[in-house]
Assembly symmetry: C2
Homo-oligomer: 341 residues x 2
Amino acid sequence: MENIPISKLGKYGLIDHLSEGFSPVNKTTINGIGNDASVIDSGDKYTLVSTDLLLEGIHFNLVYFPLKHLGYKSVIRGISDIYAMNGTPGQILIALGISSRFSADQVDEIYEGIKLACNKYGVDLAGGDITSSLTGLTISVTSVGYAEKDNLVKRDGARPNDLICVTGDLGASYMGLQLLERERLIFEKDKGIQPDLAGNDYVIGRQLKPEFPVAVLSDLKEAGIRPGSMIDITDGLASDLMQICKASGTGCRIFNKQIPIDYETSRLAEEFNIDPLIPAMNGGDDFELLFTVPLEMYEKVKEITSVKIIGHITEKGSGNYLVGDEGTEVEITAQGWSREK
Amino acid sequence: MENIPISKLGKYGLIDHLSEGFSPVNKTTINGIGNDASVIDSGDKYTLVSTDLLLEGIHFNLVYFPLKHLGYKSVIRGISDIYAMNGTPGQILIALGISSRFSADQVDEIYEGIKLACNKYGVDLAGGDITSSLTGLTISVTSVGYAEKDNLVKRDGARPNDLICVTGDLGASYMGLQLLERERLIFEKDKGIQPDLAGNDYVIGRQLKPEFPVAVLSDLKEAGIRPGSMIDITDGLASDLMQICKASGTGCRIFNKQIPIDYETSRLAEEFNIDPLIPAMNGGDDFELLFTVPLEMYEKVKEITSVKIIGHITEKGSGNYLVGDEGTEVEITAQGWSREK
């Protein structure tokens, strides 16, 4: 490959390129690159393993991100990948890179948050690594879980006419981030001014202390619905939906009126003079589930209150489109590398 | 905890402190913090998972560390943790944080090295993550393997009178690093001067392209020797031996004459005016195995040429000592945080 800047390839272009030429040699390697977690055959069940990297200045800014919340969110990010494959997280490993400006009690705060999340989601902290770093804080999260072999859900199982569903609402975390960033800039110009975050508790909470919608997975199970494909919404609905369509070899149509956006997100987007669809489509960090179910499941799936049907899967080659109010179709494009969060 | 600088606690003091209050809730969590890898029960076998963080400026300097070698070494570092528990590595996940100064073909080079090591050790690249970073290169390595339940070897199985064994030779990687650093400083002062690395191929190779002594594990198995405790030597013999003694509740005596040091390491240490025992005891990055076997195995173990018996385990409370030529005893101390590599 020529000396191409990574921004041109995009995150997933780069991953695709790098994956070439790696072909599994171990029969336990069921599913490698290209899903939320790696799938490893461990006899009766599949073991799922996932790894994420959180870097200071890219994924969080410690000016407004409390360390305890950061520890909590790191765990959510890890287990989200396991849930997204219809698995159950069991263990988490955390590796920290910390520079000399951190004291032991600050590391304690990170671990307090990790502990809270582990307790809430029934996950064990099972290991990790601590190393010094030259600059800033680096958090590497490895999550381990399992799935019954019949229950594993990957990205490649979407079929034409399947319903496209999402949980919760989208774009709030991104708007929370915009707000925190705005107040940070104001504060840095004039340290006398206190941040004005009143009335935005929801979006800020979605950014600083996200939860994962675990209950939906049991609701689906109880209703006898097994999604054909699934992914967690962390890169943004647009990018994550395109991952499903690409893996499944399909197109899609989603309807902008159906995309769930919280009132606070919309109001704040208006204040920032941006279309609320932008954070919903491209914001990311939502920690919601995006999945597809066969059309026959319509009656069942619409009974689950936290799930919203936003569109349907189409034939290969029919493109990925967002359908507007008057039937106008806008092509969905993934975020570039520069939008990588 | 008060506002204690991390350098005072030390790496393992910090890990011990952070581990407090985490008690496993999942019955699949067999062994958490405090071993080379986490041990997870997956039915017939144990699944082993380990995570390591490699940070630019701390673990490698790209001035002299070729990216391909860096990819190779990252894999070695990952699988080393699995082998150290007498396991077989199967999969590796790599998460990269790359700043805008990297181009796609540089990332390619890293992956070429990863591929070479994966092929050589029969490991599959099974996933990972790529993210942008503000500064420098961050590599997070997650390795997954398995061990038959009867064959797992942990750190806590050393017993008084057990023989302490090491593979290969120690300190070479550290001396290679010293040499590369010296030449870097000279080069940075005067770009006209070419680095003088002649005659030091072995130590440089040990730093830039380490291998793992896999054959020893099969030699031990063939000879019917199952180590009571084992660890890979990555932090340095002193620190890693203390980990075994601490986990096993024992003391130890090792003999400086028995510590295997390559001629090139000794010669270079002399040139740098340092005692060759220092890199051997505290250098780290050796990727050798340190293990204990019962005294009855003496005849068998001494037949394995790549294994050297360097001392024996003693009763709890008898301390950890390095015994010198005239019987003088020097207490072994672990590296501080500042020596963390």
